[in-house]
């Protein structure tokens, strides 16, 4: 299937009709699968625009008409959604910035000073820690946060995971491959301090790699339900995933509200995705460079 009907230099492939039919067939398959991928998203949006009674009917409508915006209004009014949205945004922004700062600074150091005593040992150590699953460290991290009195604070969501071993590896590779050694010398001759060099010279060059890493960190922190469930305790600290989870309630689930909140939680990432598609893709393929 690969390189099907590859064009020859300067012309269309041979068997024109057969090739056209095949392309049409492939487009059709692609279209149908795309539809299948969109159905749940469509269900999310359409349910948000329905009343509870409309969600639970024996003839579910694909086109809720007239659309009801009650859910979207009610979810802002009756639930702590504005607060949750603010919390999630704040946590995400600080977590992403901190991760980028730690990983790019250390990544640059590893790329720039390969002769420093202990360099190899320390870098091997960082690589080794990429193999540690979160499941193993989750209880002690919880204990540490308890002892530092950080349970039910933003820091409990921000700090763990910001020292991201993969992030260091990723930044080091990028900087080592894209920053010529002379550049550090040139900056030093211009009288830039070491930190200045990092801030004014390296960061602009490393921007694509930081974009990818930032996007990866953003998805992880924005969508994190389990950790929020463990470390956040009060309503004013809740995040979007936690809010949506807790809205489910015990007896009767207000699906209209949940779908509306779900929409609000998903939209920022979708918008970010559409704006930074390239970064998203390289962020998620970033892991693949390991192998």
């Amino acid at each position: 299937m690969k390189s099907a009907t590859k064009t020859r230099p300067g012309g269309m492939s041979l068997g024109d009709n057969a090739a056209k039919r095949e392309k049409l067939f492939l487009y059709l398959m692609l279209g149908l699968s795309a539809l299948a991928f969109l159905v749940p998203m469509y269900w999310l949006v359409s349910s948000a625009l329905k009343t509870q009674a409309e969600i639970f009917t024996s003839t579910p409508s694909f086109f809720p008409w007239p659309p009801r915006f009650e859910n979207l209004i009610a979810v802002f009014d009756q639930t702590p959604l504005p607060r949750a949205f603010f919390n999630t945004t704040l946590i995400a922004v600080v977590h992403v910035c901190l991760t980028l700062f730690l990983c790019s600074l250390a990544g640059m150091a590893f790329a720039r000073y390969p002769q420093a005593p202990g360099h190899r040992w320390l870098f091997a150590f960082v690589l080794g820690t990429m193999l540690i699953p979160q499941a193993v460290t989750m209880i002690p991290v919880f204990v540490v946060l308890t002892n530092l009195n950080l349970i039910n604070t933003y820091w409990a969501m921000i700090l763990p995971g910001s020292a991201n071993a993969f992030g260091i590896f990723w930044m080091r590779q990028y900087i080592a491959n894209n920053v010529p050694g002379d550049l550090y010398d040139a900056a030093a001759i211009d009288g830039a301090s070491e930190f200045d060099t990092y801030w004014r010279v390296i960061i602009p060059i490393a921007r694509p790699a930081m974009g990818a890493l930032g996007v990866l960190a953003l998805i992880n922190v924005w969508n994190n339900l389990m950790w929020a469930f463990i470390v956040l305790r009060t309503e004013n600290m809740t995040t979007m995933p936690l809010l949506i989870y807790l809205l489910q309630g015990e007896e009767r689930t207000p699906y209209g509200l949940i779908m509306a909140a779900g929409l609000v939680a998903t939209l920022p990432l979708i918008i970010a995705f559409l704006l930074f598609q390239r970064n998203f893709i390289s962020g998620l393929t970033a892991g693949a460079v390991k192998s």
């Binding site: 099907a4 795309a34 389990m226």
Partner: protein, 319 residues
């Protein structure tokens, strides 16, 4: 590798211990910015990575609920773990769930990647975004929407089955997706295929684009059909990518949590209690910190060995 300091650093001299140490000190001072720049990372990492890793190992020999005084119990946690029916059932459920969703997901992802890699394809970004949106949607939202769609009475899947299922010999009352022990795992598998195909597709697409074009050129000159090109050029060159996505899927399945926690809560009964859920329940439901740490270590060790085996078998194939 291209640092200016590589040759500029002070050379190491073969002198006595004291001199050596002094020299080391000089070199370390010379490279002080290296240590300064990596220290923020290492400080946070020490607190939230290294210490927890060691503390967790220590915990696995304790009985502790996080509040009262911990008690040293030696290997008791491990002994109890190997007699814990729920532990093995959760591993079994994880294995079955993985077998149900990983193969179809990877095959689908590969087909999509091949399609999206066609040079004539138009609207590439649109197709890619469509398959990719599930990956960035919060798991809790996905799980609730699927929960709604899997509803026995009003869910859209059963509505469709009820209206057209008769043609395919399906039960006219629909499938009890989330209400029977038999269907809870397949339902989760459907959700997981939907959610993670895009991620694997993107990685495979990157792998496909890394294959040297001239190889296809050569194959075509040799008269290889497109199927032969797929079998003898594409698939062999995709091997490292396949190994990578397989390992990622293995790890992802073992530690799967959000989707199961929200959609089935491990039920009905314990039919969809996966290892991630078991671990979470032991740690933060029953507050058996020592026991949960032991379970996490044992499984992490098994996963590590499996990962190594996948790497090894792959390497021997290549050589």
């Amino acid at each position: 590798m291209n640092s200016p300091q590589s040759s500029a650093g002070p050379a190491q001299a073969p002198f006595g211990m004291a001199t050596r140490f002094r020299r080391l000190g000089v070199r370390m001072w010379y490279y002080r910015y290296f240590y300064l720049f990596i220290s923020p990372f290492f400080i946070i990492f020490a607190v939230f990575g290294l210490y927890p890793l060691l503390f967790s190992l220590y915990l696995s020999f304790l009985s502790w609920d996080g509040l009262t005084e911990p008690v040293w119990v030696g290997l008791e946690n491990f002994r109890a773990l190997f007699q814990d029916r729920l532990f093995f059932i959760s591993l079994w459920n994880t294995l079955i769930l993985g077998l149900l969703y990983v193969p179809p997901m990877l095959v689908l992802a590969f087909i999509f990647a091949l399609l999206l890699n066609q040079p004539w394809l138009k609207l590439r970004a649109v197709w890619r975004a469509t398959v990719f949106v599930p990956v960035i949607t919060p798991a809790v939202v996905v799980a609730i929407v699927f929960g709604l769609m899997f509803g026995t009475e009003f869910g859209i899947f059963n509505q469709i089955i009820k209206s057209v299922g008769g043609w395919f010999g399906l039960s006219p009352s629909g499938v009890p997706w989330l209400e029977s022990e038999r269907w809870s795992k397949p339902s989760l598998a459907i959700l997981l295929v939907w959610r993670w195909t895009g991620y694997n597709m993107v990685i495979m697409l990157a792998g496909l684009q890394g294959i040297d074009r001239s190889l296809y050129e050569a194959a075509r000159i040799d008269g290889a059909s497109r199927l032969q090109q797929l079998l003898h050029v594409t698939i062999p060159h995709m091997r490292p990518t396949f190994v990578f996505v397989t390992i990622m899927s293995l790890i992802g399945t073992v530690y799967l949590f959000d989707e199961v926690f929200v959609m089935t809560q491990g039920g009905p009964g314990i039919s969809s209690t996966t290892f991630g859920l078991f671990l979470f329940d032991e740690a933060f439901g029953n507050f058996r910190f020592g026991y949960a740490s032991a379970a996490a270590y044992v499984v992490a060790f098994v996963v590590f060995i499996l990962t190594l085996l996948i790497f090894r078998t792959n390497r021997s194939h290549n050589e």
